[in-house]
Symmetry: C5
Subunit: 308 residues, 5 copies
């Protein structure tokens, strides 16, 4: 198979989308009234306590107190904080209105393995409305043997969102026995498929991971594909179509420069933003704030087309 030339991709423009009023209003708040305020998104997620347990917090026990993340989101001027109902109910009071909320609706522990991964709803869209959230977060375990239940569950969420004008951020995670056989969850095949599924099923924003280089066990034409990291990123951004793409900041990375390079790369490749969890809140508060500031500087150079 011949080497593909560079793949094109464009950042999604809110102005160019045809959206119902409520959805547009909420997305506008996230894109233009908070965070970088230039049509990009900088999101602080905190679902690791449920997904991985307190394990993730060992490097920075202060982060076990959710107030840490709320303060970081506020002072670091994040577009939103993304967390579940229990944390939202207990810690949001003094930040309400100041830190937009993306209410994560489903989740699970990682105690059983992921062979048949499923992420049950532990909150509903009405909870999000009641809490004044500006979006809901939904994890879809793409390709899991339990995809049937997963997709049905997403339908109910989407239809409720339709009713309330609530945007959906989809954590589109390839997962389960079958994806492992086809190369694993981090491959370009998996992430590219995830991007498309997010658009097909009706997400407004999708969280993806930067695709790995390894295509060996993937189905064709991916197996034969040799693309540069930017091309891989552009490919998945393009496959997401009119869905805004957030790339994951991933596990903690001590080298700040490397982190910032990644942000630049993601934004250059058409991402609408980044989602920074452990890579931020596992740092001491001031360091996290300083790093957030540098991320803002990069984001400022990548306004959405609405600003160009």
């Amino acid at each position: 198979m011949k080497r593909k030339s560079q793949v094109e991709s464009r950042r999604v423009s809110l102005a160019a989308l045809s959206l119902p009023h409520g959805k547009r209003a909420r997305l506008w708040r996230l894109l233009h009234a908070h965070g970088p305020r230039n049509g990009t998104l900088l999101v602080l997620p905190l679902d690791q306590g449920l997904e991985h347990g307190p394990t993730d917090f060992f490097p920075n026990p202060d982060a076990l107190d959710t107030d840490f993340q709320f303060r970081l989101a506020l002072e670091g001027q994040y577009s939103a904080i993304a967390l579940g109902i229990g944390l939202a109910e207990k810690y949001m009071a003094e930040y309400a209105g100041q830190v937009p909320l993306i209410l994560k609706l489903n989740g699970k522990t990682n105690i059983p393995d992921d062979a048949e991964a499923a992420s049950p709803l532990f909150a509903g869209v009405e909870d999000a409305v009641r809490l004044g959230a500006d979006a809901v977060g939904f994890t879809l375990y793409l390709g899991s043997p339990r995809q049937e239940a997963d997709i049905l569950q997403f339908r109910h969420v989407r239809q409720e969102c339709e009713r309330y004008g609530m945007p959906i951020v989809m954590w589109a995670y390839p997962r389960g026995r079958a994806i492992e056989v086809k190369g694993g969850k981090g491959t370009l095949f998996a992430q590219d498929y995830a991007a498309r599924v997010a658009e097909e099923l009706g997400a407004d924003v999708v969280k993806l991971h930067e695709p790995t280089e390894d295509n060996e066990r993937c189905p064709e034409p991916y197996r034969s594909l040799r693309e540069s990291p930017p091309d891989r990123l552009r490919r998945v951004v393009r496959s997401a179509g009119k869905v805004m793409v957030l790339f994951s900041g991933g596990i903690k990375q001590d080298d700040d420069a490397r982190v910032l390079e990644k942000v630049s790369l993601y934004m250059e490749c058409g991402a609408t933003g980044v989602m920074f969890g452990r890579n931020m809140w596992l740092r001491p508060f001031d360091e996290a704030l300083a790093l957030s500031q540098k991320v803002h500087e990069i984001m400022a150079r990548h306004s959405s087309p609405d600003y160009s």
Copy 2:
């Protein structure tokens, strides 16, 4: 077993059906106000992004932008475009009213294998009504070990359609472990059964595949049957009774003449129309348009009985 003589079949006539008003109005739009406008159907489906992932789009990356297919449906005068809620919500705005919509309600990824195939609903009939669709599309995995869930799910869709006067296009796909044991999904046995099931369960239109020649592992009497391609086509059209049959255009075929021959053959054998996906939108736009035009010429020679 003695060779059967040629099987008879007739194209279904809308005028001869006894339908509730809403269903008739919507089918009339599809059959007489759009597309060939002579009681036949030329449908452009776009569910491959969910069903197969971006893989299918590699030969023509332009087609990843759903606007491509909407433009093709409009300029190529298709009877309708058939796609899911995410694509409809995001790309339909400027085509609304001009390109009739068949909203696909269910689907899945092909990451897990098809041994226990099930196609969960990711949208509902109310979504179709809200979007102004003229029909819904439903994939039934005939004969899957999960047929119980599948049929129950179809019931809910059908009853909602009854309520709203919404026609149902059934993708009647034999699938799953048990059909493989009985010869596979493409055999005459499988397609013929699919045609009948579509009628029994209450579809208005059914999408089928041209049956293959291989009957070896099928149950009798199919195993002993030796029929010509036209006879096989006529047989499944006849088994579909008063359900209008669309044959699939199948995977991309580079030889235009061969494609058009197939269309002629299908229409001669009593099909109401064809569903052309990859065979159209994997071609450069102008070529796809030109080919669509030639298909129109054939369809024009096969008006439904309502015009004779």
Copy 3:
């Protein structure tokens, strides 16, 4: 074990049943206003297209057009035609009011095997009401490993029927892995149990099969039982209590005399009637009509007690 003396059984009398008005009205139409009109039932079922596929129609392709069966039901003066929603919706228009309808509510394909047989609902009691049906048909797979779902499903149907005054005809079919171990679905053990279950669960009419002679692998006391065919029939009729019994006409039987003998035997043993599918509609129309006429002559000699 000693040879049992002849088993007694009586035909059920509508007059002696204590029924809600709606149910009585509808049963009266079936028993006294159509068909033999003497309290017996002659029913024409057409669910084979879904249950077995077009295979069953090979001996008489004309029967693939459901109009064939409707005409036969009308001209052959059947008490009712029994078929599913798809066929009812599409073919009933010109027969409405003339041919009573038993709407079959559930069904499945025979592509997967019957080890865990389940028959999902593809229509509801409200569909039956809307279509003016005089009864609903429900297949219960007695003794299947999935009997839990089956019985729960029946409950919902029965409760809806209660609400609308709709009689229930139960196809009480022993099925699944466990019944095979206990001798198979056709044994006296299986059919006798089926008859009782129909009464226990609340059917009004039950369709059974003539029990076979083979009791070898059945549980006691059936294993040791040696009864004549009439005694076996009387036994299951008696076990059905106040539920009217219809015996199946079974697969096609070319010898007319043999068919008529069976009808006589069934009626003598207390059956309320017979259900003739393939044994009728696989014959050329005129032959089917002629045979139906002869069946009528027998039925005329077996009025229900309401007429004696």
Copy 4:
């Protein structure tokens, strides 16, 4: 382990219970207006036709006609007859008001084995209300691998009963693979657990079996327990707390004296009553009546505390 001294137990007193009006009214009818009329219960169950099939009726075919049991319940002055919806609907007409009804709500065939026993609802509390029943009967398969579904199902029934003031008689049956491993369904361990579960989940009356002597494979402390039959009975009566206990009359026992001894024993040990099915209705009518009369004589000597 040292031999326990005699276990104490007391018969439950209706007067001492704190009940909502409707429940009290219905229990009062069962305890004081029918049957022995002294706060004890003599119940005639007829669910064997569904649970075991017609097999159980071979010794007395007359009993296949449910009128037999209704007459016996009436003339034998039973506190109530306990049977399912099908039999109630068809045979109760002339006994309504004279023979109180305990409507059995769930059941199954015994064709599949009991390794994963579950007893699906085939009727609801509203059916019981409509039929004028004075209680509902519910079979709980304690300890089955499917206990989750079972308990959820019971909740719905209990909540409906709460709403309508309907008492619940629980057939608390240890069942399934796991109980077999722990000694089997008839052991003191199993029956004692059953008694407690009935109280924990909210039954008003529980049907239990006399515990067997064999504790060998039971968990401790039961394994080491050596108790007399009366002590075992008193133990389970005590474990049932404020739930009234009915002991099962069990399979047919030809020796009348032995049957009556059992009744005396049960009543002396604190039971509120007995449930006599096959041990009554498998006898010729007059014998059953005579035996019932003798049971009444015993019951008369064991009034509930409300009468002392």
Copy 5:
């Protein structure tokens, strides 16, 4: 891995929580109007009869009569009694208003093993409201292969609680095949995860067990952790965040001093209280009362921050 220094933790303050009125009112009753009345909790649970059967009561058969526990709760001045619907309905009458009720909503028998543990609801939040309960109790089997059903079920309970202002006490129990592989249910890993999950999912109070010392088969970083018992306790209290922690009194412990030491330790480490079941009600009534009194003396020294 280096030895962690002592872990910090604080008792949760009701005053510092942001709660809806109803929830606050009910928690206030539990924390300040009953029991120690200083913002701590002393709860008497009685769910063992369902969870373990009468086995648990052998050392003190008096405790089989639930009146024993109600009296103990009243005279021992417990903050609340926690039990299921059956016991509440039957024994609460004379204690209503005097002994606050935590209605346990779900439960199961321990007859099947816990490999796929699930705890079905046998009562609902409306039952709790009707009975005047001040909280509901919910068992979550964290990490069970059936966690999907478990979490979905919890969502419904939480949403109902939201609606009625009802606090939730979560029995957060790591359970099932997968947790066994990762070291077992009693490890610090398991209990720490449980504490966090309770907060993430939205509990108000969580019941935990004191973590064991054994980390050998746990995932890192727990495997390498060597912490003192107080540090382990403080860790889980900290992981529970703003959820109040109750530690279990565990199985019966004959040495009173040891029991009281544990209470002191728990309270010093930031627990809001203790839950004492068998360790209290398996003692003779007066001994239990005396021990309760001593526990009160300890609790009195550990007021919540609201009192400092």
